[in-house]
Amino acid sequence: MAGKKLVSLDEAASLVKDGDTLALGGNLLYRIPAAFARELARQGRRGLRLVKTAGNYEIDLLSRSGSASSVVAGFVSFEAEFGLAPGFRRAVEEGRVSFEENACYTVIAGLRAAAYGVPFMPVAELAGSRVPADRGFRRVPNPYGEGEVLTVPALIPDWAVLHVQKADLRGNGVIHGPLFEDVLMARAARSVILTAEEILEEMDEGELDRALIPGFKVAAVVHLPGGGRPGACPPYYEYSPVEVAEYLYAAERGELAAYLEKVRP
């Protein structure tokens, strides 16, 4: 079995079928499965439902490429000098992508319900917010006391796609630094795909402590140094404002296909 999970990026992306729901790991430009998203776009995947708390690059790219048909997220934007994610924004305004706007908390709640094996999560009331009504989140009578409790239905991704620092040949994944929602996504999803900066022959104790993604649920591991670019994957590389600008410049000029050919993996 060992080693069988180690596949090419092309093979790993082929596991994802049109119409699948994908939870994407990382946050904004940190430890994101960027190269995997580019490969999905190259392969012309369609009808994907993307799940993320706060994201930008992969969501913008897969919205432009026509791969995403809906996005479940709390926040989709670049920060600082880059501002709003323009490809995502236009796709939503033109009706090509449906934005299932959540609070980051309700994305987490939906994933928690999935991870805990229950149909919904009771959550704190989002008083004054349009989000529960817009999403059709229902309230149920509190069976143990007064009043009603807001609920969020289980959100079960077909895949959690995570870019991690290290993985071994059996698919065990090691995350250093902020976890964001990666571990929760791995629990909630039916199956996991990892892309990793390094493939380990064996782990030391420190790595075992950080091996929070058990390999038995991992369908594929791709050895993909730089797989988070243009985002950061500390301690290997920082995010690159130049490469983000290069993406936005090419994409806004309608040259996404050329960009995807040029920026490999």
Binding site: N27, L28, L29, Y30, T53, A54, A73, G74, F75, V76, S77, E79, A80, E81, L84, A85, F88, R89, V92, E93, F99, E101, N102, A103, C104, Y105, T106, I108, R112, V123, A124, E125, L126, A127, G128, S129, R130, V131, G177, P178, L179, F180, E181, L184, A232, P234, Y239, P241
Partner: protein, 246 residues
């Protein structure tokens, strides 16, 4: 870059500095404080407050370490550098839980639109029930705003498109503490937000013209003290405080 309010007044400081100082002062008695995405001015306010007013302030943020002491301020407010020097771990999901339990004291939030009731819109601008402009989404705000004890709103723009009588869509509403803008400081009053003070470069007429709901007279915002400006410049040598004004 658009013009920074106050920059022409030759006071030795302008809106970015004053907004950070005002927010830092408001953290003097805070116990826990949360800063989220794209929150440059709040991160600086927390660091300034910790240095000058409230050394015991507990800072929580998205990278997930409690009370970090970053050696530099990165250009992203979810950067792992903002976890450096932290004393324990608390993930974003757990910070939301903390707020849901009523244990979060102060949170910083912003809105593309802020209305008189303090409701914020980060979702979308609608016209006649139709989507006109898609915004970013409200991130954690729909939970944080009603559950944190006090929410400090800030907005680096002050005009009638930003400060409105009624938001197009209420992404979040809740326990407003103050609203800080480049022209003024607002607090909650009987009929919604009211002026608490006007920044030195702005007149009441100017604030009225830039605000989509009625406001009354108010004194001038106390200017930053030399020590506040000195420490702020030390914390933020690269002037990230101006990012939100670009």
């Amino acid at each position: 870059m658009r013009k920074i309010p106050g920059a022409g007044a030759r006071l030795g400081y302008a809106a970015p500095e004053l907004m950070v100082v005002v927010m830092a002062r408001l953290l003097s008695d805070a116990t826990t404080v949360f800063t989220g995405v794209a929150s440059y001015l709040p991160v600086l306010a927390v660091l300034l407050a910790r240095r000058l007013y409230n050394p015991d302030l507990v800072w929580l943020n998205i990278p997930g370490r409690v009370n970090p002491a970053p050696s530099r301020i990165p250009r992203s407010t979810v950067h792992p550098a903002l976890a450096e020097g932290g004393e324990a771990s608390l993930t974003l999901a757990e910070i939301f839980d903390l707020s849901a339990r009523g244990e979060l004291d102060v949170a910083f939030l912003s809105g593309v639109q802020v209305d008189r009731t303090g409701a914020i819109n980060l979702s979308r601008i609608e016209e006649g029930g139709q989507l006109k402009v898609q915004l970013t989404g409200g991130a954690g705000s729909a939970l944080i705003y009603p559950t944190a004890r006090r929410t400090l709103l800030w907005r680096a723009k002050h005009d009638t498109r930003s400060l409105v009588e009624r938001v197009s869509v209420a992404t979040a509403a809740g326990n407003i503490y103050r609203l800080v803008t480049p022209l003024a400081l607002f607090r909650p009053g009987k009929e919604g937000l009211e002026l608490e003070s006007i920044h030195p470069w702005a007149s009441l007429e100017e604030v009225r013209a830039a605000t989509g709901f009625p406001v009354g007279e108010a004194p001038t915002t106390p200017p930053p003290r030399p020590e506040e400006l000195r420490v702020l410049r030390e914390i933020d040598p690269e002037k990230l405080r101006e990012i939100e004004f670009s």
